[in-house]
Symmetry: C2
């Protein structure tokens, strides 16, 4: 810090500290957020490992600030062995230690720069803290990439011939052995607020999520199966598909309709076009059949859109795809946009939206989105808007639903800081299966949910491997916009377009159905995980480094993750074949399907046929399983079976409400507590009064 | 422009105009350059198509400036049909119209963002102007990506079903049909100088090169064959290779030695290590055998380097690979660094350097280079230094040679604005053959030279295709750092490491030899092209859009190019097989090798066996060809044969001097003018007095 500059550390909640340097910008994630900090939960979580400023692993004076021509530079100490997680959704790597992270919204980066659909200026360190840099600027974080001048003075090594002259050695990713610095650059800003979250990785993540307002709570149907239909569909095709799912007993909760429903998309009119002449009848029919309907859109408003004129004054000064870029930082634009959605769609039975193309496009061969220099009427510029718009867009759609008292789970392609309370799942169809899996792991550090969607499949086996992953993910989404028939009929796009079925159709349909049913069985279990995300800030799907920050062996793992409280999921990809290595933390584990016991604290190789995904259950776990339904309706009652793993005392709480409204905010959740005593006997407290869960004493004991 | 702000257009040379907005930064390409503008040549080139401000295709008032929190925003008009070239070396696309270009030095971008080893804030437009934005900042250029708000009002199109919902349609690169803007953002700056270059694409490029100081003039040997040896080489291995080339009659002029010569590289000591105990004897022997020796290095100074202590005060505040980052904007650092090179290497027979790793590394999986926030003693910051260091490094090495009166042609991995006078060729081994070819085309707009080096080859055929390309390139470089034996012995890296020769060794060695000899035959012709680069600013290897800016058909072509005045080169890659499409501009053309005539103004398919590259010669051309030598020595005299294509009157000028020193700056060049009259007779004016070219009346008439 330059001598004489003012900065001050302030405690704003238990375990959360804020430092302000000079005069921060008016548009930042914290200053613009609509959700309130979950004070009560933060209070209950406690003070962090130590109290006061000492809760951070360095002294306040070690946090240094500087104002330069380029903006603000912040430096922090960083130890050699620190691992760093976060920065939002990251598809290409997990641990940011030794790396640069460039916090810029950008679709489909192919290189590991930190850019993503949903980056966040937030990270957690294994040194025992989290840090939110409260900015929408394209901040750069140097996470110990460099040593300070003079650190290496005195070194006198000599080349090791040959070995040091191989390409792999020259360009290997290296972490310095010396003490380093975290260097954070916030361009253009004249001041900055930093928010520190005390605690180990798990606590810091929980605090960050509670500071954001707590995790989102989706409606129960949102946890069911999702199917996005063929892009070229008309209403008859959609109805035919929907009918087919029911006839084939394929559980599907949500039907997503792609751009073709608009009279003009790219940019959008937000009005039904001629492919859907009787759209309301279609929506009503789908709703009666128990489907929830999700509509694709983006923010760019085509001149033929009915509210184009009204938005003119509340839009940026450049067009995208001939459309306006609404300024969602103005109340007017929010009201015009949200109002239209509420009146035209939400009150007519539309259950959610897919908010597409709100990420920027430096890497995509296309050339969309607005310049960073764009001026918005609110006073925001294009740079800020790029990093903000994903969250602003989610908030306004969320609030349009909330106005009607209806919960949604929707889809969005961009997000940012403080997004945990927003019931949106991130997606993009431009990744491989391995990256889809990594995304779930990395997103979990920053209050984000990621859908490892089933998209183009190379084979029936590939289809099953991908379905297995979505079953154990925040959103079980099949994205079939390129194929008119379901993928279990035909995975090959060309043949699918010709309505030509696969020979093994029956096998794959059956295998998919079983996996979909498995998802439906897990709904009550998963709902509990979301309630705990909402109330405690624990991510429902999360990295192993969150589950046990002290387990060094688990820290770097980005291809297995926890699903709900007790399931450890280790997906296989087509490339893996039928076996992979897994790491089981210390303790006893059971195979979720076969009940086979495994001693943990080690790596082992596991095998699984194409229709089976390796999932392990913690000793002592209670996993409530439901009879699968085809979809979750208003009046669905889940017929429960209790799976009891091991013999230790244990408990699991199911939560119930109407599963669709905000009534729980006033009335709270009803709880059903399933308990296994030391005697191995199962008791279900509240079970007999439950309206949505029915217990007939079915219990399976494993181990 | 904000009302009341001052700006003024000033004519600084014929056809070159400068506009200053507010107070520009102290560190910029123009303010730091060491070369002087080539006033005389600019004067001779004339005034541009029109005089005064009207030489630009828009009014001065249409150039708008704004200061924002983010820096300076400049906007210019852009017409729908404008094509845009430049921005330095671009591997991934040619025409920037409709694209964003982010001018940031970055090694190996895999996506088309504008970043490259050698970006430049300079472009030329087919509207008839060039523009240099005088900044080292990471400027962003939006080349007509967006329309202004309201441009599209009134549009009432509707979706075309199916067709518009294919992935290719959704993400196709689209250019707006409406009038657009060029938007330029210069971050952090409080003012900016713009330099406009009037004229069509060719004239604007020439003016830019002459403004830069004129093109570089390499020594004749630099135009010969280059061979970079195995990274694991010791001095005996180098000598053995060199002996082998002579025994096998393989022309090689330059031997490049890779990092292993340093006692420590990554970072560097700039001292010979134990793999080269008798290095001076090796260098002397190589020199006696007619080789020029080039040494690999980078800027990062290891603590064991002899001048480490001296540099401490003149280095940035962070280390890279444990080494200092010298501040080449300080005279002290330049003198320490250049002085060492002069005393230790240049005066001991080293002919050039390979300046590696001076590009930044956001995309490489490794994590080198210094933070953008790095502070340098000169006052530059890391952002500026990243965009400047390639040129600063070239300048200091160039001047170390110049101090000794010796010319060099060297290699460098990064460059930037105003680099034309610097005798360095850009390289990187991380591209495919197609990108290597495109790089020659794109670099030619911005005063840069690019080596489409031969690196890893998939097969013997691939080797020949790549060698064919380097023969017709600015620098005929084989980069063999991964293989101990020449690639014509064995292309497979693993087998090469085992000293296992290919079965077809004799064929490929012979085919390579013939291609190398072809390069050596072209040396006098190519030297003339470089003299004209130096004196007129015409790139020796250049895009078709430079050759004839009015030829619309040729504008977008990035896989064929002009080599010297009259050769049109259309390389084949392994992927092409033995045929490709070429475009011949209007007029008559001849096959360079077979003399077959072709009517131009059309596209046609050509075939060529693996050892033949399609090259076309303009009707009327005179191409002087030399008897190939194994290398260019101090006293080499070229035995010339005149190839005369067609029957029109024509002329070609050969230039001669000592080919190695700066004497020509005082004494000028001697000229030999070869002329063909209307009667088809060849006259050689000055041929009999020539010291370096011998003419024995050998002439080949084609057509």
């Amino acid at each position: 810090m330059v001598a004489g500059e003012e900065k001050q550390m302030e405690k704003i909640a238990e375990g959360i500290y804020k430092i302000t340097y000079q005069k921060p910008e008016p548009f930042t994630p914290v200053s613009m957020r609509k959700s309130e900090m979950a004070d009560g939960a933060l209070e209950r979580l406690g003070k962090g490992r130590k109290d006061g400023a000492a809760a951070l692993p360095f002294e306040e004076t070690e946090i240094q600030f500087e104002q330069t021509a380029r903006g603000i530079t912040v430096t922090l100490p960083m130890k050699t062995d620190e691992d760093i997680y976060g920065f939002g959704l990251q598809l290409l790597s997990l641990n940011a230690a030794g790396r640069k992270r460039y916090v810029k919204v950008n679709s489909d980066p192919r290189m590991d720069t930190g850019e993503s659909h949903a980056p966040a200026p937030f990270y957690v360190s294994t040194a025992g803290y989290g840090l939110l840099v409260d900015t929408y600027r394209y901040a750069t974080f140097y996470m110990g990439t460099n040593t300070e001048k003079g650190t290496s003075a005195g070194k006198r090594e000599v080349n090791i011939p040959h070995r040091e002259f191989s390409e792999s050695a020259l360009y290997a990713f290296k972490r310095a052995k010396e003490e380093r610095k975290v260097i954070i650059e916030i361009p253009a800003a004249g001041g900055i607020d930093l928010y520190f979250f005390a605690g180990d990785v798990k606590e810091a993540v929980m605090r960050y999520n509670l500071f954001s307002g707590g995790g989102c709570l989706p409606p129960m149907w949102g946890l069911g199966m999702w199917y996005r239909v063929y892009g070229g569909s008309d209403e008859n095709h959609v109805k035919k598909l929907a009918k087919g799912f029911r006839e084939d007993k394929m559980p599907v909760d949500v039907i997503g309709i792609e751009p073709g429903w608009h009279s003009h998309s790219y940019s959008c009119t937000y009005e039904w076009g001629y492919l859907f002449p009787n759209h309301q009848e279609m929506v009503d029919t789908l709703n009666q059949e128990g489907y929830h309907v999700n509509l694709w859109e983006h923010i760019f408003v085509y001149p033929a859109a009915p509210f184009y004129e009204k938005l003119l004054d509340y839009s940026g000064d450049y067009e995208v795809w001939n459309g306006l870029v609404p300024d969602f930082a103005t109340e007017e634009a929010r009201n015009i946009f949200a109002g239209w959605h509420e009146e035209q769609f939400i009150q007519n039975g539309i259950a959610g939206f897919k908010l597409d193309e709100c990420d920027n496009s430096d890497f995509n061969p296309s050339n969309w989105s607005f310049p960073d220099s764009t001026k918005f009427p609110s006073g925001m510029d294009g740079e800020q808007m790029h990093n903000a718009v994903g969250v602003l867009y989610q908030e306004l759609i969320f609030n349009a639903f909330k106005n009607r008292g209806i919960r949604t789970l929707s889809s969005v392609r961009s997000s940012g800081a403080l997004a945990a309370p927003l019931p949106f799942v991130l997606y993009s169809d431009l990744y491989g299966h391995r990256e889809f899996i990594r995304g779930m792991v990395t997103a979990s550090f920053s209050g984000m949910l990621w859908a490892p969607e089933v998209r183009d499949c190379a084979s029936g086996e590939d289809l099953l491997r991908r379905v297995e992953t979505i079953v154990f993910s925040p959103q079980a989404l099949l994205n079939c916009w390129r194929i008119p028939n379901p993928p279990w009929e035909q995975v090959c796009i060309e043949k699918n377009l010709q309505n030509e079925a696969m020979e093994e159709r029956a096998f794959y349909m059956d295998a998919c159905r079983k996996l979909f049913e498995l998802r439906m069985s897990l709904l009550p279990y998963l709902y509990s995980a979301f309630v705990e995300y909402h109330e405690l800030g624990i991510p429902p799907v999360r990295a192993m480094a969150i589950e046990d920050p002290e387990d060094y062996e688990a820290r770097g793992i980005d291809d297995q993750y926890f699903f709900g409280r007790d399931l450890l999921v280790c997906p296989l990809t087509l490339e893996d074949g039928d076996s992979r290595e897994v790491y089981l933390p210390a303790g006893l584990w059971y195979g979720f399907f076969d009940g086979q016991p495994y001693e943990g604290g080690r790596r082992l190789s596991v095998q699984a046929k194409e229709e089976v995904i390796p999932v392990f259950v913690r000793d002592g776990a209670i996993v409530p399983m439901a009879e699968p339904v085809l979809c979750v309706r208003e009046d669905t009652v889940f017929e429960m079976t209790i799976r009891s793993y091991g013999r230790k005392e244990g408990a699991y709480t199911l939560y119930e409400d109407d599963f669709t409204s905000f009534q729980y905010e006033n009335e709270g959740m009803r709880e059903v507590e399933i308990r296994r005593g030391g005697d191995g006997k199962i008791e279900i407290a509240g079970g007999e009064n439950s309206l949505r869960y029915r217990f007939k004493g079915k219990t399976e004991f494993i181990g």
